[in-house]
């Protein structure tokens, strides 16, 4: 009895949590297979941290069920609730929550003392955890003498030292400076991989999510917008929110005029009297005649000079260029719309140039509004 019926180690069903009359989490369901790293990604206030708190048992949900390894941890309908200290879940907090009145060793040994392990075993396991996070030489220091990054490592050691069923991260990198953050991303991922603990990670930083996760759940306003691997989320967003939140995209309202076959069709967009039809990939649930949003990332658009001979398409005027070495970051005005373009063309573009925008049809998407 190690997994839920659907093969997930952590299973969340129909989770709802109110704050006053606010629905912070509005009936979400998801699962994480054993050993996987799942990220809940979304802007602040989207309910991701509340979801995490419910899994931890620090918040009680208003509806829904949470089970881990086949055991029921929370079930509102069955009035079941396991207090947080009985869940054996490791958690790394945003503020690290390293206890300032203890040394690093005392901090890390705490969960083992609670579990009444023998003195020598505690020593061994603490040493191993500290080695794993690279803090072996800080063991005797008071927690207040650690830098932010070191406190982060100590918090991680404390969370994994008792080999929890599940590891939860609540925006653990958001208080670090950029350089350290990038370094810790890789490190966290390495350590999680090494200990192999099923993990749920909460962040509002999309690049963090893309780098670290096996799976990503994009959330907004308490509901799940899209679930998938980092590549799928980036390359095939389902709707306008995900397109906009992950990376940069050109988004234009349009309508599907033709469907060629499974997942392919033609979208019509109009701007300032100019009306064009573009071949595109269709997101799930979009059919002929439906309203859709054209979504193209800047790197999938090229701007070509001398647009006369190139047939029907989008023709605009360059209004700004920044030379980046391998490409040019351009803004191209088309009617009232400003295209963001990473142009690869050999010729140097200049403001005022008339250009033709060539969209890569394999990366031109029609997504849900």
């Amino acid at each position: 009895m190690n997994e839920a019926a659907n093969g997930n180690y952590l299973d969340v069903q129909g989770l709802v949590k109110y704050f006053g009359s606010d629905r912070a989490v509005d009936g979400i369901s998801f699962g994480v297979p054993k050993g996987r790293f799942l990220t809940l990604l979304g802007p602040s206030g989207c309910g991701k941290t509340t979801t995490l708190m419910c899994i931890a048992g620090l918040h009680k949900p208003d509806a829904g069920e949470i089970s881990v390894g086949g055991a029921l941890f929370t079930s509102v309908s069955q009035r079941a609730y396991l207090p947080p200290e009985k869940r054996d879940i490791g958690m790394v907090f945003q503020s690290y929550a390293i206890w300032p009145h203890m040394t690093v060793t005392q901090n890390v040994a705490y969960p083992l003392e609670i579990r009444k392990l023998s003195h020598s075993e505690i020593g061994d396991r603490v040493a191993e955890a500290l080695r794993l996070v690279g803090l072996s030489d800080m063991a005797g220091k008071l927690a207040t003498n650690l830098s932010g990054g070191q406190q982060q490592r100590a918090a991680l050691a404390r969370a994994i030292v008792f080999r929890p069923r599940l590891l939860l991260f609540d925006e653990p990198l958001s208080n670090l400076d950029l350089k350290l953050r990038e370094q810790m991303r890789v490190e966290l991922k390495r350590i999680q991989h090494e200990v192999g603990i099923t993990s749920v990670y909460v962040t509002h930083d999309q690049s963090e999510a893309l780098v670290m996760s096996d799976d990503i759940i994009v959330m907004s306003k308490g509901v799940i917008q899209q679930t998938g691997g980092p590549h799928a989320i980036y390359a095939r967003p389902l709707n306008r929110f995900v397109s906009n939140f992950i990376g940069v995209a050109n988004l234009l309202d349009g309508r599907i005029v033709r469907v060629f076959g499974p997942g392919r069709g033609e979208i019509e967009v109009a701007q300032g009297g100019d009306k064009v039809r573009l071949p595109c990939l269709l997101a799930d649930g979009i059919g002929e005649g439906s309203e859709a949003v054209l979504s193209v990332r800047p790197e999938n658009v090229d701007a070509l000079r001398d647009p006369q001979g190139l047939g029907a398409g989008i023709r605009g005027e360059v209004i700004q260029t920044i030379f980046l070495g391998n490409c040019q970051d351009c803004r191209v005005r088309w009617g009232d719309f400003e295209w963001k373009v990473l142009a690869h063309s050999r010729e140097r573009l200049r403001p005022g140039d008339r250009v033709y925008l060539r969209l890569d049809p394999e990366h031109t998407l029609a997504v849900r509004p």
Partner: protein
């Protein structure tokens, strides 16, 4: 690294409803809320009811009515007491505000020499008993037995007397100088925390020093000044010892001395006393409400909480005048009264002049040696009882304060807001009013005339002070520190013991000592609730000044002051070090 989970097998959550209701957390917090609720609400309720009951002419039965309130306007003594209370509070507020603001400005914003060293001394009157201050000033400046008046007669050849504190002005004088630190504390904080760039930017626009002080500095600290002034007004209105010593015997009754007369003594009338208490309580609660709802939110400078290095104003040669001014305050408020008490306490009889051949320690023996057969029992009882009350009272109050603070800051919802409100109520009412409430509530229960009823009065009135000390620290300690302990597998109680309490230690310790000091010198609650055998230290002083003589009174007063000063000294030593680890 192996991935097996330590110690415990996978376990389903219990599905019984009782499991989630009877948690350690729920039991502890519910118990504390009920206790606080009962302690605060019952006396208030009882006193309101009693104030509408009229004692009939036989002195046994009662009926409902408004007569008690009518006599507030019709009874000339009570009406006079009402007016005197307002006059004394206003006068003391003016004096304390003037002294407090000027001293705070000198210490926080000028280059007055030795300011750092003077700071702790300026707060000393706050920790001493104003009642003892009144006794000291009586011995200094009573018309006949006043030391200063006798010196004036002998040295300056003045006939009659130079000073007289046995009247309303004396009450205002002693109350004012003793409550000066309250204003000082509010204002010095605001001045220190003020962002110097606020003043700098005024100077860059061309405003001079005086203009900047008047148009920028002063308005910024006005809420602090007003807060301090209101606290002084309310505390003065509830002060019993000073008017009892310097006012009442000379025809200047106040509401507190009248409440006392109605609570004990030959013509005791609890119902009339309750009505007077209600009147006094209504006034003080109204002012505290204004302070908390209207003035405290406007204390701009407290918001930033950053450490600033304020601009110091160079006073030039006037800095010596500032120093002299500060030293003069300390001389008048601390040194002169204490020295006078020591002198008086060494005489068998006090007639206003020092007689070196008579000096003796006899008075200390009679009042302090509680194992000695010839002791004065009322005084020596007080010493033992007060230490018991202070120790147990401070401990219970801090445990209660801890749980209540936890509820207010770590739980959400109606209960936490209600508790927050309950904690403010006792601050709005003077000790003597709460004591009247406790008296009429418990007079027919077994705890009447025991130490327990005094303890109950102390804790009810003063536990919010402890709660504020803990809350201040708790606000600075992230909730995640508690949560991570729960996630590490510790129960609520273990978390409290191993994480929450150690982190709050500075606040708990500071609050404990503060309550210990307050309880050691407490008079206005004790005087209503004591009976033979349960005297407290201040009641002992009251007994001696009322039924014995001034030298004996002074001896016990000196002893009390020395203990209080020692507490403050240790408080500063230890709290200072503790605060570093926070």
């Amino acid at each position: 690294m192996a991935t097996e989970i330590l110690t415990r097998p996978v376990e389903d959550a219990p599905t019984s409803r009782w499991h989630s209701i009877f948690t350690q957390e729920n039991i502890a917090t519910t118990l504390a809320s009920l206790l606080v609720g009962a302690a605060v609400i019952l006396p208030l309720f009882a006193i309101i009811l009693s104030s509408f009951q009229i004692l009939d002419s036989s002195g046994f039965g009662t009926e409902w009515g408004l007569d008690n309130y009518r006599s507030l306007l019709k009874d000339r003594v009570i009406y006079g007491a009402f007016v005197n209370t307002l006059l004394i509070s206003s006068g003391a507020t003016l004096l304390a505000t003037f002294l407090g603001v000027s001293l705070a400005w000198i210490n926080a914003r000028t280059n007055c020499p030795w300011r750092g060293k003077l700071e702790p001394f300026n707060l000393i009157p706050f920790f001493l008993s104003p009642f003892v201050g009144a006794i000291a000033w009586h011995n200094l400046a009573a018309p006949k037995v006043g030391l200063l008046n006798n010196l004036a007669r002998e040295i300056l050849g003045i006939k009659g007397h130079l000073l007289n504190v046995d009247n309303i002005y004396g009450v205002i004088w002693v109350t004012g100088i003793f409550f000066t630190p309250l204003v000082y504390l509010f204002v010095v904080g605001s001045l220190r925390r003020m962002d110097p760039s606020l003043e700098d930017s005024a100077r860059t626009t061309g405003a001079g020093l005086l203009r900047t002080t008047l148009t920028v500095t002063l308005p910024l600290v006005t809420p602090g000044i007003l807060s301090g002034a209101i606290i002084v007004f309310v505390t003065s209105a509830g002060e019993f010892g000073v008017p009892f010593k310097l006012g009442a015997p000379y025809g200047w009754e106040t509401l507190t001395t009248q409440i006392f007369t109605k609570a004990v003594g030959d013509d005791a009338n609890h119902y009339l006393g309750a009505a007077m208490s209600m009147t006094l309580g209504a006034i003080t609660a109204f002012f505290i409400w204004i302070q908390r709802r209207i003035i405290a939110p406007r204390e701009y400078t407290t918001v930033t909480g950053k450490g600033f290095r304020p601009n110091l104003i160079d006073l030039g040669p006037w800095k010596w005048a500032a120093l002299a001014y500060n030293l003069a305050y300390l001389f008048i408020a601390v040194l002169l009264p204490l020295v006078c008490l020591v002198i008086v306490s060494l005489h068998p009889v006090w007639e206003g002049r020092i007689i070196f051949t008579d000096l003796t320690f006899w008075n200390y023996k009679k009042t302090l040696f509680f194992w000695w057969p010839e002791r004065i029992v009322s005084a020596t009882n007080g010493i033992v009882n007060s230490f018991i009350l202070a120790f147990i009272g401070a401990s219970i109050a801090m445990i209660l304060a801890l749980v209540v603070s936890y509820m207010i800051h770590r739980t959400k919802g109606f209960g936490s807001r209600l508790l927050d409100f309950l904690c403010v109520i006792p601050i709005g009412f003077p000790g003597i009013v709460i004591a009247m409430g406790v008296l009429v509530t418990y007079i027919k229960t077994p705890i009447y005339a025991t130490l327990w009823i005094i303890l109950l009065g102390y804790i009810t009135r003063f536990f919010p002070y402890g709660q504020r000390n803990i809350s201040a620290v708790m606000l600075a300690v992230s909730e995640e520190l508690d949560q991570s302990s729960r996630m590490a597998g510790a129960s609520w109680l273990t978390t409290l013991k191993r994480v929450t309490i150690p982190l709050l230690k500075p606040g708990i310790f500071a609050g404990w000592i503060l309550l210990f000091v307050i309880f050691l010198r407490e008079l206005s609650i004790s005087i209503i609730l004591y009976s033979t055998g349960t005297e407290t230290l201040s009641v002992g002083v009251y007994y001696l000044t009322n039924f014995e003589n001034e030298p004996l009174t002074s001896a016990l007063s000196v002893a009390q002051s020395v203990v209080l000063l020692l507490c403050v000294y240790f408080f500063r030593r230890i709290a200072g070090r503790e605060a570093l680890t926070a």
